[in-house]
Every structure is written in structure tokens, then in C-alpha cells.
Amino acid sequence: MNVVNLNQVGKTYHLDAVDVPALIGIDLEIRPNCFTVISGPSGSGKTTLLNLIGCIDQPNCGEVIVAGEEVQKLSDDALSDFRARHIGFIFQNFNLLPVLTVEENVEYPLLLSRMPAAERKRRVEALLDAVGLADKARNIPGQLSGGQRQRVAIARALAPSPKLVLADEPTANLDSHTGAAIISLMREMQREHHVSFVFSSHDPKVLAEADDAVMIRDGRIEQIERREARAGGRHEQGAGAAEGGRGAPAQAGDLTPEAAP
């Protein structure tokens, strides 16, 4: 089952009595355990699409199904609980809580999901160890570098064992070396935790790592490229792509273009 299904989703902003369409008739499926990158020029609707997938914004039309749940039918509180359980966020500016220590930042989503204290502690330690920040657990974000902060953000996003992690330009505020390391870490985490990552990014390094690449322009999906998962160097056929998995067999390292919906 796909992690995300968008059916004929549209979003229009009303700016000064003018309707500005941000997304038009979007059909998209996000496969489980995949690295999906949404790419496109500025103003193309990447962030809006990510917001709808992340259930932090509502479409004007169409249907958004995340983890099998039609999220538009949920109340605000139920949607909050749903996000706490199923969706992790990584932000361009890291968005860590500055008054909390590294371990408290990672622990925070677990508090929202009411995980018992002992289990929380174990989970936080394991995640900080996995992102290489076990020795920084008591530091506050202000004492960390950009790359370290983004690692904390990754650990925080993964803390509640979500089905989906969304990252809005996660490497935009990092130098290329750190950005590459972060991408590599996220890829590693994605494989290890069996979670779907969805990015918006211009970064070619991110695109190179993508299982699926969604090209978006002027609010419409221009192209979806699926690539066989790279795990173990096996060649896999992209499945569950937009329009019912019409993806063609792909070669390892190649991106297989699909017709846009």
C-alpha cells in the first residue's frame, strides 16, 4: 500500500482578492520505504505539495490519503495526533526548540505520543547514537553546527517511528560537504528505519539519491521518474507511480521518466 495517495488535488491561494493557483489536479502516489524528491523551480508548488502531504495544510479540492487515512475527514485534534504518530518533519532552518537540549528535542515528539519514560530514554539514546550525536545530548541547539542541528532534526523526525518523513530543502542551509553527509545519513536512516522520505530540493546530490523524482512546474506535475531501489545494487521496477504504476522497468542508476498525470 502506498504511503501517500493524492487524487486530483488542487490548492489555490487568495491573495488580495486574486486567486493564485498553487497546485492543479495533482495525482501522486508515494511508495513505502522510498526516497522521493519533489523538484522544480521556485514558485512551482513544491512546498505546497509537501504541506498537503504532511497534513499541515488542506487542499481546496481532491483527496489526500496518508497511511491509508483520508486526512481531510479528520478533525484538527485528530489530525494533530495523526501527524504525531505518522509524520516526521525536517525543516530547512532545522526548527529545533532552542530552549531544549538535544536529547529533549528528540524526546519531544515521543512525549506527544505519550511513550513511557524508560522507553523514551532508550529510543532517544539509540537515535542520537545513530546520528552520531550521543556526546552532544546535553547541549542546546545554539551550541551545535548547522550539520549537527540537522542531524538532531533527523533524529527528532524519526523518533516516533513515523511512516513518512518530510523534508523541505533540508540541505539548503548547509555547505555542500555537510549537505552530502546529511543526505547520506538520511538515506541510511531511511533504509534502517524502513520509512518513506519525501523531499523538496534543487540539490543534484539529493536528486541523485532519489528513488522517485517528481518534477513539478506551475502547480502541475510535469514528470515522475522512478528508479529501482538501490539497496544491494538490485534492479527493481518502479511501482505505484502516478496513474496506477505505469512505470517502465528502470536500470540501476537511471531515472525512468513517466508521463505526467
Binding site: 499541515i56 495526533d81 518533519f89 526548527n95
Partner: protein, 462 residues
């Protein structure tokens, strides 16, 4: 990590702003508490003054309070000794009582025939031993330095008068009244000299009838039959009374003397039986019990009970005035705190908009955001109130130990300027709770605004 812990850290995040807000709250708390303590001190002082003079409760003949001053002899309590005995021996009332004593109030004219002057006065007949005991009442521990009761150890014909009475009756010199302005009698109109025999008679008439240095007055009052009666009283002392109107009219004497003046050879009565209680807070209970006694054991005579507030309307007016000023001040300070904390919280919401978006995206409900900011308001309120109470206690201590004095209304001598904050639990808790509540209320609107933010808008905020 609980909401309050996070709220506290957020407050510490912008220390200067939080401290400024707290400072405003501390100033507010100190102002309220110091003024509250000051007005409480005045209230207790007034109350103590009235209770020392007239007790907490008075049992009077029915309607004496309304009409009795015009004819005290007709509105006396005939069986006053029995009334006093019943009250003093009542098992319910006895533990509440410090003194039960009869008293007489009368109106009359006091004259100093030697000087050819007179004036209307209000006389008060008291049992000296009981009055001495009454003057020891100090339920609130006020710094008092009362002089000895002037009638102590005096004969039945002794009297004490107000300084004003002494001045008008030209008794300042024999009574050694200080601050008595020198008196020059209006000159006699110029004319022909009186005949020698008339002048000699006049000289005889103005000759002092009393021994040198002794002050005597004649007190004229209507007796129980309506006929004038005169008592010659030896004034042992002139004492300044609290209010000028009273000072100009007061004549205190022994009860027996007052009874002889009003009732002559008739059976003596009292215009009231005065009850002084251990604590003012016992008034309601004592009144309830007295009502039972008046309806049963003492139902033979039409009696009623008046408390000191009814007998001294000034007390209620003063308390009401201070309560109004206190309330006005509290509302004003509450409004200042409301806007200060509200402004602080609004700035915090604005600065942390992206953080609000992040928390909401991570799954914190709107109510969680509301709780977070309300928690900050509550913490500001609690810390501000606690610091304010501590500061007020320190300021009160400084004032109380600064050696300042002042003359409160109704007092004769200057008293130490004190503010009663310590021990005023209701005042302290009320002020602290009020400030904390105002702080929480101030945080409500910014919290609501934060909770209602759209997540995507909040996340876009720079």
C-alpha cells in the same frame, strides 16, 4: 518535560523582558500590599479606639439609639444590673467577654460660674474599674501608649473634660492645658461708670468659689421627671479627644454621679450595658446569643443590641472609603499588569511564530499551544506575585522600623506609622492570587492567537 518546565525555559530565554515584566508586577504587588497594609492599620486603629471607648456591643432600651439622646432618662435600662449579670454568666457568652459594664450618656450644659461661661456638653458616666480593664483591649497588637485613665482613684464628684470644653469654660490654666490660645474677653461697651455699690457687688460675684488651682464645673441636665438638676463636678483633668466636635463637648464622670444627676432619688438606671469581646470576629456569634437571651431570659424589658459599627457610623464610612480607594488602586494596577503581561506574551508569540508552527507540525494540538503560553503567563504571575509579596514584606518592615509617626483620624496623639502586611494572610493571598489570575488572563488572548495560527503561515514566518 512538562508544559510548565518548557514555559519556564521560554521565560528565561528573554531574561530582560521577563524581568521587566516581573518588575512591573512586583511594583504593583508592593503598591497594593503596602496600601492595603496601611489602610488595614487605620481600620484596626479606628476599631480599637471605638472598642476601647464603647465596647463591641451595647444593650440598650429599644429605640434609645434613635430617640434616646433627646431624653436619656426615659430610655434607660431599668434592670441593668440583672442584664449585666445574665450576660456575664451566660455559658455561651462568658468565654467571649472581657468586660460587661453599665454606662450612661446624657446631654446637658456645663458651666463655670466663676468665669460666667457655659456650653452644651455630652456627658458619659462610667464604672472606672471596668473602663480601666476595657482600655487594655488590643486585639491587633497596635503600638499604643495610653495614659492612665483620668478618673482612676478619684472621688465620686470627679470629672474629666475635653480640652475644648476646658478652653470654652476657661479652665485651661487650673487644668494646665497646653496649646490653649490666650483668651481676651470682649471689652465692655464704653459708658458711664457703674455706681460704687454695684461695682462692689460685681467684684464679689466674680470671686472664685473654689480653692485656688481647683477647677469645678456645674453640670445641668434634665432629670427623669424633666426637671433641671445640677451636679457640681471637680474636674481632675482635661484630655484631648480625637475629634474636635467631641473634644468641645466631652464630660466624663463616675456612673454613680451621672445616675444621681439623671435619676436623683429614683432607682438608678443605665442608658446601655456595654459588652467588650475578646475578638471583634465574635460579634456575630455574640449578637446571635444576645438575641436569644433578649427573647427569653431578658424578655421582661424591651431591649435591643447595637454593635460598634452602628454606634459609630464614621467607622463604616472610613472603612468604606479606604476599601474604595484600595479597590480603585487594585483595578488600576491590575490593568497595568494586564497590559504589561499581555504585551510580553504577544511579543513572545510573535517571536516564536515559527516555533509554534513546528510544534503544531510535530503534532502538538491547539490546546497544547494554548497551555504552553498560558503556562508562561501563569508562571509570570506566580513568580511576580511571590516576588511582590516578598518585596512588600521587606518594604513594610522598613517602614515599620523607620520611626515615622502620624496622627490618624480620631486619635489624640501621634502614633507610629506602620503598615500591616505580615500576618494579613487574606490580603497577601488575595493580592498574589489576583495578580496571578490577571497574568493568566493577560496570556489568554495571545495564547488563543498562537493556537489559531495556520501551521503553514507560522512555519513561513521569519
Amino acid at each position: 518535560m512538562r508544559t510548565l518546565s518548557l514555559a519556564l525555559r521560554n521565560l528565561l530565554r528573554n531574561r530582560r523582558r521577563s524581568l521587566t515584566t516581573l518588575f512591573a508586577m512586583v511594583i504593583g504587588a508592593v503598591t497594593i500590599l503596602i496600601f492595603g497594609g496601611y489602610s488595614r492599620d487605620i481600620t484596626y486603629g479606628l476599631q480599637t479606639g471605638f472598642v476601647l471607648r464603647g465596647g463591641h456591643l451595647q444593650i440598650q432600651r429599644k429605640d434609645y439609639f434613635l430617640y434616646g439622646s433627646g431624653n436619656p432618662a426615659a430610655y434607660g435600662v431599668a434592670d441593668y444590673q440583672r442584664v449585666a449579670d445574665v450576660v456575664a454568666r451566660d455559658p455561651v457568652l462568658a468565654p467571649m467577654l472581657t468586660v460587661v459594664t453599665p454606662t450612661i450618656s446624657l446631654g446637658g450644659i456645663a458651666g463655670n460660674f466663676a468665669a460666667g461661661v457655659s456650653r452644651t456638653v455630652i456627658g458619659s458616666g462610667v464604672v472606672v474599674a471596668d473602663r480601666i480593664k476595657m482600655r487594655q483591649w488590643n486585639d491587633y497588637g497596635l503600638p499604643m501608649n495610653l495614659p492612665a485613665f483620668a478618673l482612676t482613684g478619684t472621688a465620686d464628684d470627679a470629672a474629666v473634660i475635653g480640652n475644648g470644653v476646658a478652653r470654652v469654660l476657661e479652665l485651661c490654666e487650673p487644668l494646665a492645658v497646653s496649646n490653649c490660645p490666650p483668651h481676651t474677653k470682649p471689652g465692655v461697651a464704653a459708658g458711664a461708670s457703674a455706681p460704687a455699690d454695684v461695682t462692689a457687688l460685681a467684684a464679689l460675684e466674680s470671686r472664685p468659689a473654689t480653692a485656688a488651682g481647683e477647677a469645678r464645673i456645674e453640670l445641668l441636665a434634665a432629670n427623669v421627671h424633666g426637671a433641671p438638676n445640677v451636679a457640681s463636678l471637680r474636674v481632675v483633668k482635661a484630655e484631648r479627644q480625637g475629634f474636635k466636635e467631641f473634644d468641645d463637648m466631652f464630660v466624663g464622670m463616675h456612673l454613680t454621679q451621672a445616675q444621681r444627676l439623671l435619676y436623683g432619688s429614683e432607682k438608678p438606671q443605665a442608658t446601655a450595658v456595654v459588652l467588650q469581646l475578646v475578638h471583634t470576629s465574635q460579634i456575630a456569634a455574640a449578637k446571635a446569643r444576645l438575641a436569644e437571651l433578649l427573647a427569653t431570659t431578658l424578655k421582661g424589658e424591651p431591649l435591643e443590641v447595637q454593635d460598634f459599627e452602628a454606634l459609630n457610623p464614621f467607622y463604616g464610612q472610613a472603612v468604606g472609603m479606604f476599601a474604595a480607594i484600595f479597590g480603585f488602586m487594585a483595578v488600576l494596577i491590575g490593568a497595568i499588569v494586564l497590559f504589561t503581561v499581555g504585551n510580553t506574551m504577544s511579543m513572545a508569540v510573535m517571536e516564536r511564530t515559527a516555533e509554534i508552527g513546528t510544534l503544531r507540525a510535530m503534532g502538538l494540538r491547539r490546546s497544547g499551544i494554548r497551555r504552553l503560553f498560558m503556562g508562561e503567563g501563569l508562571l509570570l504571575g506566580v513568580i511576580g506575585a511571590a516576588a511582590g509579596v516578598a518585596a512588600a514584606l521587606c518594604v513594610a518592615w522598613l517602614i515599620n522600623h523607620a520611626g515615622l509617626t502620624w496622627l490618624p483620624p480620631g486619635q489624640v496623639d501621634p502614633v507610629p506609622l506602620t503598615v500591616r502586611v505580615w500576618g494579613e494572610t487574606r490580603l497577601i493571598l488575595g493580592t498574589a492570587a489576583g495578580l496571578a489570575l490577571v497574568a493568566v488572563v493577560s496570556a489568554w488572548w495571545p495564547s488563543r492567537r498562537a493556537a489559531r495560527m495556520l501551521i503553514v503561515d507560522a512555519l513561513r514566518h521569519v
